[in-house]
């Protein structure tokens, strides 16, 4: 549903942000029209890959089915998923994402290392909607 937020496969999978050539501010989701640093005169915004690994800033889960536009099959029982907010040290940014399926809050602690991996948000008859997910490092499932 959005273009250019991530790219690559396997170990090359990364989130994509943009960086201002004027002040070096980093933006995710990508900012393509204007640098949001009020002290910056404005520069070109170039696409950059974000760090693949970061540390858990916090985490939670969603025990009730979220409303649309989140897509889920109301015919199926609700399966809670975990959300992780991850601090990327080099970019000094916190990025929220779903955990890979099977990772619960019991598997996480603040400060633990996670890495970004490709995942499936949902599938319909025509399309597999891909997304980014966070996976605790050392978990290979």
């Amino acid at each position: 549903m959005v273009a250019g937020w991530f790219a690559g496969e396997g170990d090359d999978f990364t989130l994509l942000g943009t960086r201002c050539s004027g002040c070096a501010s980093v933006f995710f989701p990508r900012e393509d029209s204007h640098c949001r640093n009020p002290g910056c005169g404005g520069g070109d915004l170039a696409e950059i890959p974000l760090s693949r690994r970061g540390r858990v800033w916090s985490y939670t889960d969603s025990r009730y089915r979220p409303p649309s536009p989140y897509v889920s099959d109301p015919e199926l029982p609700w399966e809670p998923y975990t959300l992780i907010a991850v601090e990327l040290a080099a970019e000094r940014i916190v990025v929220l994402g779903q955990a890979i399926p099977g990772v619960t809050v019991a598997d996480l602690t603040v400060g633990a290392e996670v890495e970004v991996v490709p995942g499936v948000l949902h599938e319909d008859g025509e399309t597999v909607w891909t997304t980014w997910q966070w996976r605790p490092t050392g978990v290979t499932a």
């Binding site: 549903m1 980093v26 995710f28 969603s62 009730y64 409303p67 959300l83 907010a85 990025v95």
Partner: protein
């Protein structure tokens, strides 16, 4: 110091799930505020409506919608939207008009008819809307953000689920005494612990519900108040509507990521703290001067955060302040004597106005069983998504 405006009237429609339109709640609140002020609607020179997106077109132009329902009488009209800070911006607008001499007496109204369950973005495919994106790409509801904040507090400050539950216990005891509150039953810590987890570590009774409701204020110049024989009205001395400063490094609703601090060092003060700071600065008071505070307890854990952001205690000491009883009704600085959102639920455009209604009752000494003795100075604190600050300081 920019001058003060008088609060001549305060009125509310009870919160709940009433199943009626927001106009009905707003008009009821407006009539109650006018009656409280001893004024006729025809005497009002300006009306400011806090918008609700759920009311469709009439909700987007709430000022005119309420004016039409009350009867067109030619008043100046304004409608404002600032998410959960809409009510504070409505108060700020009214105050600015009064201080600028554009109006002597202004009616401020906010009302909402909320959906059952989670708030959700407006319809349609809108990938340029951060509020739509967080639902579509992550299913990140409001409570999941509250869960992130709560878990972070547990990890960094050592807060416990029991601490969070005690906020609900405290606020529900006050809500039980408030005829306008939706929930009027005292809740025990055991009941909080037995309620279902919504967004770990928060449970159903840690999180505020969505509600219908309405609130209104009649504000005037000090001269107008004196002319009506009100020599010592409750006065609004500050309204803070500040934005964050870049880079905002605390993950805020509805964003998927924070600003990056790679190029610019963040300010020492967080956004929430800056909201309170701006209000204190404008009012010329500090945390030690407060008699009470009404804060935005979207979750029990968030109330503890506000203690710190308001400067009631140091960073990380919110739970300690609660445990000491300082924020209890008989404590040093009672918080959420109205019962808070824990007892009211969210009626988005109304709630920042409702907070000022509670301050008004308290500062007049009309809060009945909820009364804080000798209340002289009160603050409200709130935060609207998309970077809207909101705090009001009222004095007597």
């Amino acid at each position: 110091m920019t001058g003060e405006v008088a609060v001549l009237g305060a009125g509310m429609h009870p919160w709940g799930k009433w199943g009626r339109g927001f106009v009905e709640y707003g008009v009821a609140a407006a009539r109650a505020a006018l009656a409280d002020a001893g004024l006729e609607w025809r005497e009002i020179g300006s009306i400011v409506g806090a918008d609700t997106v759920r009311g469709g077109y009439p909700g987007y132009v709430a000022g005119a919608t309420f004016a039409r329902a009350l009867g067109w009488q030619g008043a100046r009209v304004t409608s404002v939207y600032a998410a959960c800070a809409s009510g504070a911006q409505a108060v700020a607008t009214a105050r600015a008009q009064i201080l600028a001499g554009l109006a002597d007496v202004v009616l401020v109204v906010g009302a909402d008819a909320a959906p059952k369950g989670f708030f959700r973005p407006a319809g349609g495919d809108r990938p340029d809307d951060p509020d739509w994106l967080r639902f579509r790409a992550l299913g990140a509801t409001n409570p999941t953000y509250f869960g992130l904040y709560a878990r972070r507090r547990m990890a960094v400050h050592g807060d416990t689920a029991e601490d969070f539950a005690q906020v609900k216990v405290k606020n529900s005891a006050m809500g039980a005494l408030n005829p306008y509150a939706r929930y009027r039953k005292r809740v025990t810590a055991e009941e909080v612990a037995a309620s279902a987890v919504v967004a770990d570590p928060l449970r159903l009774l840690d999180i505020c519900a969505t509600s219908d409701g309405g609130a209104a204020l009649v504000l005037s110049s000090m001269e107008f108040a004196r002319g009506r024989g009100v020599a010592e009205p409750v006065r609004i001395r500050a309204v803070s509507t500040v934005t964050p400063t870049y880079p905002n490094t605390v993950l805020d609703l509805p964003d998927i990521a924070t600003d990056s601090a790679a190029a610019v060092e963040p300010a020492a003060e967080t956004f929430r703290a800056s909201i309170a700071h701006a209000a204190y600065e404008e009012a010329g008071v500090g945390p030690d001067d407060l008699s009470l505070a009404e804060v935005y307890d979207l979750s029990t854990a968030l109330e503890l955060q506000w203690y710190e952001d308001l400067g009631l205690c140091g960073e990380g000491e919110g739970a300690k302040l609660l445990r000491e009883g300082a924020t209890a009704p008989d404590g040093r600085i009672p918080v959420n004597m109205s019962g808070g959102l824990a007892s009211f639920g969210e009626a988005v455009p109304a709630q920042a106005i409702a907070q000022v209604c509670e301050l008004t009752r308290q500062l007049r000494g009309e809060a009945g069983e909820r009364q804080v003795e000798h209340a002289r100075v009160g603050i409200t604190a709130n935060q609207g998504l998309f970077g809207h600050g909101s705090a009001v300081i009222a004095v007597r």
